[in-house]
């Protein structure tokens, strides 16, 4: 089982395990998604951590172009109470 990308550097237990060699990719570019919908909170939940904060590109692999769109979409979804600004246990 590959180690999750988010504890690659900090988690000591992960250091002995073989490194995840899979290359990260931008899922928008790969799937030809051109528009990030703010009305779909379930999709946006993938770009947010348990506290409801936006995950960095370094973890999700999203390209800069779409990361900007994702953040905008999340901001809109939060305004419309489709997503929380702060949460305790989202996942």
């Amino acid at each position: 089982m590959a180690t999750p990308a988010f504890n690659r550097n900090n988690d000591r237990s992960a250091m002995n395990k073989p490194q995840d060699t899979r290359k990260k990719y931008c899922r928008f570019k790969k799937n030809g998604i051109k528009y990030v919908d703010y009305k779909d909170p379930n999709f946006l939940l993938k770009f947010v951590n348990e506290q409801g904060r936006v995950l960095p590109r370094r973890l999700t692999g999203t390209s800069l172009k779409f990361q900007r769109k994702v953040t905008q979409a999340i901001a809109k979804a939060r305004h419309l109470a489709l997503m929380p600004y702060v949460a305790d246990a989202l996942k």
């Binding site: 030809g32 528009y35 703010y38 419309l80 109470a81």
Partner: protein, 148 residues
């Protein structure tokens, strides 16, 4: 300036000033708003009717009205935990948005609203969504399964 110039063509100078409206670009817009849950069904319907009327009066072309129904809010707004969600999409000039948003602000039955300009990709996406082609989301779900 010689006086004869004015005497030559009096009509040109004495005609009332013509009003030239500022031509604004016609764009696609989408407005999502939340109606208070304290109203009953007919009152909610009336509220929505009011705003579609506002759009009609300002010569906007209403493309669709979506009712998402009574949804739970992610966080309380005005001490309400639920709300009726509605989504209007329309085309028109930019000044319509000001009129519509002013009407939203003045109405206390509306607890939240958001108007967004739609680019060509968004219009395309919305059309597909309305026609029930959810290929986009299925693809996204598949990638999610691969990624984790």
């Amino acid at each position: 300036m010689p006086e004869s110039q004015y005497l030559c063509a009096p009509n040109q100078f004495f005609s009332p000033p013509t009003f030239t409206p500022i031509v604004m670009e016609v764009r696609n817009y989408e407005t999502v708003f939340i109606v208070t849950p304290v109203l009953n069904e007919s009152q909610v319907q009336e509220t929505v009717e009011k705003f579609t009327q506002v759009l009609k009066e300002n010569s906007a072309a209403l493309l669709s009205t979506e009712a998402w129904g009574l949804r739970k809010l992610a966080y309380p707004i005005q001490k309400k935990t639920t709300g009726y969600y509605y989504c209007l999409s329309f085309t028109g000039e930019g000044n319509i948005v000001d009129v519509l948003e002013l009407a939203f602000r003045r109405d206390e039955r509306i607890i939240r609203f958001l108007t967004t300009v739609l680019d060509k990709h968004a219009v395309d996406y919305n059309n597909r969504r309305r026609n029930g082609e959810m290929n986009l989301q299925k693809a996204a779900k598949e990638t999610e399964a691969v990624a984790h």
